[in-house]
Every structure is written in C-alpha cells, then in structure tokens.
C-alpha cells in the first residue's frame, strides 16, 4: 500500500475530528428523545434506549401515580366519574372495588400514561394543541407579511440612489446590535400601555414583522441586482410602481424570500422573552408554553422533553428542506459585513 502523503493524513484526521464533533452535537438530541419516554421513577438510571413499556399495575396506589408518573389526577377523576376525596394510599384495586368502577376502565385509562407519559400528556392537552396551532398561524402570517414589507423596503432602498435611502438603511442595520432584552421594558410601555395591546397576538405580530438588519439586507442586495431594463419596461408600458412591484418584483423574489423565511422562521418560532412579556398563559406560544410546564413543586419532565421535541421537529424539517439556501446565505452574508 503506498504511503499516504502528510497532507492526506492531515485531511483524514481533520475529517475525523469534524465527524466526531458532529456526532457529539447530535448526542444531546438523541438523549432528549430517549428521555421523553423515561418515567420519573426510572429517571435516576441511565437509559441508552427507551425503557421497556410498563404495564399498569392495579396494586399501585393513588398517590404513586401523581408522584412517579406526574399524572393529572383531577382530570383522571373526572374521566372515571370519581368525585370526592381519595386516600393516596389506597391502591387502585381497592378503589375499583369500593367505587364500583370496572378494572378494565381503569387499566385502559392509565395504561397509555404509564407507557408513554410525556407524549400522551402533550398530545392530549388541549392547551398545547391550541398553543401549537396559534404558533403556526402567527409564524406563517408574520413571515408572509414581514416578507412583503421587507421586499417593499428593499425595492426602494436598492442601489441607494438617494442620500436619505442610505440613512434609512443604516437605521435598519442598527437592529443587529439592539437585542430584545435591551428594549423590552419600554417596548411593553409602547405596545402594552400606550397601544393597549397587552395579551394580544397582534403585539407579537407587529414585533415579528418590523423587519431588521437581515430581511432588509437580503432584499436590498437582491433587488439591486435586478436589471433596470425591467423597471423601465413597465414605465414604457405606462405602468406605475405598484404594477412593477406586483407583476415583476414579487415573482422574481421567490429565492430571497425563501432565504428570508428560512432564517426568520426559527427566530419567530423559538421566541421566549417576547411571548412571556406580551402574552398571558391562555395565549402562550409554543416555547413559553413549554416553559410554563415547569412547575414549582413537581415537574413532569417527560412532558417537557416531549413538548421540546415537538417544538424542535418543525424547525429541523424546514432547516433541512432549505439546506442549500442556508449554506449559501450563511457564507455570503458574512462577506458583506
């Protein structure tokens, strides 16, 4: 076998290091998935794969279900038609005999919770379903409207034909160094007190469409590359700028819009601070909702992990779908500075 050149060995070593780093990066997410299946009473043991599914044992006591499996017992009582106080030390066998509830009903009700606690809790909780739907609606509408506004902004600023265009562009670029934390208190004054938009989705909507450095940068630089001849052709045909915008500009900006959406989607979806500040619990978006699952005394960690998985999946799907755009924009955006 020919001796490998020094350069080739270095190349292989580098690849190995990078592959190892990538694997280490994936490990936390793997454990996240596994842990969403590990009930509390088993969480002090190491699990490489999800544990064997348990069967519901009629001898387990009423109290155990709350402590070890974080099951919402008030909901269970309603479902099973139990009212009144139950001694936490009573086993379910005793309860079924005393209150004349068929064993099978009890087994059927609790089995899924014992087996897939985290996921069942998440998937059957109506608050979480509503939160998910509203988050999707808010995100998509913010992306569409925000994108349109950014294209409009970019269509004017492209090329910086006037001095004051550069000033406006500079103001938008300031957003890159203004974090939400910096201005959150006066923001609440503006949106909450003065505009009366506290606890509304509209407040978040406005915050998501306001634009900033990245959207304006993307569209300004793209539209600057559109041949002026296209604009002139509209003028010659007697059209105004609105027609230029709708008939020529919008169809052309599909690719930068995809880039904009791919970059902005995680920013909107993963927002925590603004959701916490401007929404109350009944209107929480996904990430504040998952945060609110952390109780003060007992926390259903499997539900939190399952919820987290749920919030990660859409982002990762979109991310993988727009992979090419990401790599290209990430590398080119850095050159612009």
């Amino acid at each position: 076998m020919p001796v490998l050149g020094k350069k080739k060995i270095a190349g292989i070593l580098i690849s190995i290091i990078l592959i190892m780093y990538s694997l280490i990066t994936i490990v936390p997410f793997y454990f996240l998935g596994v842990r969403s299946f590990v009930p509390t009473n088993k969480s002090a043991k190491f699990h490489l794969i999800p544990p064997k599914l348990e069967e519901f044992n009629m001898d387990s006591t009423y109290g155990n279900l709350a402590t070890f499996y974080n099951i919402d017992l008030s909901k269970a009582k309603k479902q099973l038609g139990i009212s009144g106080y139950i001694n936490p030390n009573d086993s379910w066998m005793e309860i079924s005999e005393d209150l004349d509830i068929p064993q099978q009903t009890i087994v059927d009700y609790f089995s899924p919770y014992i087996k897939y606690n985290g996921w069942i809790t998440i998937l059957t909780d109506s608050r979480i379903a509503k939160s998910l739907i509203m988050t999707v609606v808010l995100t998509i509408s913010s992306l569409v409207v925000g994108g349109l506004l950014a294209i409009a902004t970019g269509s004017v600023l492209a090329g910086f034909k006037k001095k004051w265009h550069s000033w406006i562009y500079g103001l938008y670029m300031l957003q890159m160094i203004i974090t939400p934390v910096m201005i959150i208190i006066p923001l609440y004054l503006i949106l909450g007190k003065y505009l009366g938009l506290a606890n509304t989705y509209f407040a978040l909507f406005l915050l998501f469409i306001k634009g900033g450095a990245i959207p304006v940068m993307i569209f300004t630089s793209f539209i600057a590359g559109i041949p002026v001849a296209l604009k002139e052709s509209v003028e010659i045909d007697g059209g105004n700028r609105l027609q230029y915008f709708t008939r020529i500009l919008l169809p052309l900006t599909k690719v930068p819009f995809a880039t904009f959406a791919a970059i902005t989607f995680p920013i909107i979806w993963n927002d925590l601070l603004q959701g916490l500040v401007f929404l109350k619990e009944d209107k929480f978006t996904m990430i504040p909702m998952i945060n609110s699952l952390q109780g003060t005394f007992t926390t259903n960690y499997q539900a939190i992990y399952a919820g987290l998985c749920l919030s990660i999946i859409p982002v990762v799907i979109i991310y993988l779908a727009f992979q090419n755009l990401f790599v290209k924009s990430a590398l080119s955006g850095a050159l612009k500075g």
Partner: protein, 327 residues
C-alpha cells in the same frame, strides 16, 4: 439673414425654451412622484420598525427621571437623577452589581468559545475539500436552530446531578465517581458559556468560514512558497485578512452576551437557580415578574440604560472600525 428666416429662428428658439421648461417641470413632477412612491413603500414597515426599535430608547429617557413604580402607576413624580444614585445603593446594588459581574464574566468566557468553537471549526472546515463539507456544516449548525429554552433544558437533561444522562453514563462507565452538578456555582460559571458556545458554533463558524473564503488564494500560496508553516500562515496571512469577520463575530458576541435570556430560563433562572440570574433575567424579574418590592420600574429602566447605552456605543464604534478596515 432674411427677415423671415430670423423670425423662423426666433420661433425655433422659443419652442426649444418652452420645451426645456416643460422638461424641467416634468422632471420635478417625476421627482415628487418618485418621492411619494418611495414613502408609500417604505412607510408601513419603517413606522413599525422605528416605533418598536428606536422609539423605545426615546421614550425611556423621560421615565428615567421619574419614580414610576410599575406599568400601571399613575402617581409619577420627577426625581431627576435619583434613580442613577439608587441603583448603586443598597438594596438595589445588591442585585444589580452581582448580576452585572456575572454577565460580564459570562461575556468573557463566551467570547473565548467563539474562537474555541467557531474559529477552530472554520479553520478545520476550510482545509477539507470532500463532499463531507455540506452534511458536516448542516449538523454543526443544528443547535442554532433550537430554541434557547430548549438548550438550557437539554443542559439540565444531560448534567443535572441526580438524573443527568451524561452523569449517569459516565458514572456507569466508571470515568467519574461523583456526578457533575450543573447547579453548582463553580460548574455553572464555565459550563453555561460552553453550552452557549456550542449553540453558536455553527453560526460563528459560518462567519469565520466566510472570512476565510474571501482571502485571495494567491496570498496563501505565496506564503507557502516562502516556506511558511501552518502557524505562521495562520498568524500572518489568515488572521489579518479575517479582521472584518472577527470584528463582526466580536460585536455580535458582545451585544448578545448581555441579552442572554432564553438559555438561562431553560436552566431555571426564573425558578430556583441563582447561578444563571444574569443581567437580562434581573431586568425581566423587576420589570415583569416582581411586585415593585424588588425595585421600581424606573430603576429597572435605569439599570437597563446604564448598561445598554455604553454597550450600543461600543457596538457602533466597533462596526465603524470594521467598515474602515475593510480592504
């Protein structure tokens, strides 16, 4: 010249004059129309942007000088610069300075991870040519796609003392005999920035990789011909020509470190974990989660502006510096 031809000349001259006048007023009308269209297209987003990004700073100024206790407070009095004095006196200073110190230390360690993760990965990725580049980039970038809250929760999932998966795994293998307690102050101080560094690894790597790719290959080849080894190339060729991207990464890290919030909340900052109560968490607690007993609204705003305005000034300065040095 005949009389008729001079009249003809006059006529032509008058027509040209009128035409030019018409052209000038047409031009002015077109200018005005352009301006109207410009404003029509810019205004919607700009009004929202200005109102939600720049305006907050402006309206904060008067409030800094009052004693407003909470958002609903109506009995507001002007107290001049008293707030600025108050935040440096007990009891406010006992919350303010520790949080600032904690965040400053975090910022420094976080900045080092920008290079430990981002620069290292970028330099490594720059050297490999294989098809692996794209899938590697994809995977390394993934943590940036996850919410900050998720990252904090994952840290607890992996490293909490009793149930952390990594702890359990290492204990089982026998590599350690005592679990790492992520909630211990000493551990938290370096583990937290490391985790943030891991989250932004792909992001910083992209910035530095972009900078590397913009270096003219001739300069690298020339240095190779001159016999420079890798470290010499790094120090004399790569880094100087990456000044722009290093500046960008610096500004983003600097500003972002003072805004770290989601990850801290994931680690329990709003619950019982005192070690991750950074500056942003303090502001949130006083502004939104307190009952006015820990501090008034105007004091919280004063604290915010005391840190943020110098921060912004530094950020703007560094950005201008970066633009100036751009070759």
């Amino acid at each position: 010249m005949t009389p008729s031809s001079s009249l003809l000349l006059e006529d032509i001259w008058r027509r040209i004059f009128t035409m030019k006048k018409q052209q000038r007023s047409d031009y002015r009308i077109r200018q005005r129309k352009d301006l109207a269209w410009d404003i029509a297209f810019l205004a919607p987003q700009f009004i929202i942007y200005f109102g939600l990004t720049i305006l907050p700073f402006i309206i904060a100024i008067p409030i800094l000088m009052t004693d407003q206790i909470a958002f609903i407070d109506t009995d507001i009095d002007f107290i001049g610069f008293q707030n600025f004095v108050n935040i440096f006196k007990s009891p406010m200073v006992d919350m303010f300075l520790p949080a600032v110190k904690r965040t400053a230390i975090f910022m420094l360690i976080n900045y080092s991870t920008v290079f430990i993760f981002g620069m290292t990965l970028a330099l490594l990725m720059y050297e490999i040519k294989s098809k692996l580049k794209k899938p590697l980039f994809t995977i390394i970038y993934v943590p940036y796609m996850i919410s900050g809250l998720g990252i904090g929760l994952i840290m607890l999932l992996l490293f909490s003392r009793d149930t952390g998966s990594v702890n359990l795994m290492l204990l089982k293998i026998g590599l350690i005999d005592q679990a790492i307690d992520i909630k211990e102050p000493a551990v938290s101080a370096w583990a937290f920035p490391l985790m943030i560094g891991w989250r932004y690894a792909g992001f910083n790597m992209a910035i530095f990789l972009g900078g590397l790719l913009s270096i003219p290959v001739e300069t690298i080849d020339a240095s190779r011909v001159d016999g420079a080894n890798y470290l010499q190339r790094l120090w004399n060729i790569y880094f100087p020509q990456m000044f722009s991207s290093i500046m960008i990464a610096t500004v983003i890290c600097l500003i972002g470190s003072w805004g770290v919030f989601d990850e801290a909340v994931g680690m329990g900052a709003l619950a019982a974990n005192k070690n991750v109560r950074f500056f942003s968490v303090l502001l949130y607690k006083i502004g939104f989660a307190g009952t006015g007993q820990s501090g008034t609204l105007s004091e919280a705003l004063t604290m915010a502006m005391t840190i943020n305005v110098p921060l912004l000034a530094v950020g703007i300065l560094l950005s201008k510096l970066q633009k100036k040095r751009q070759i």
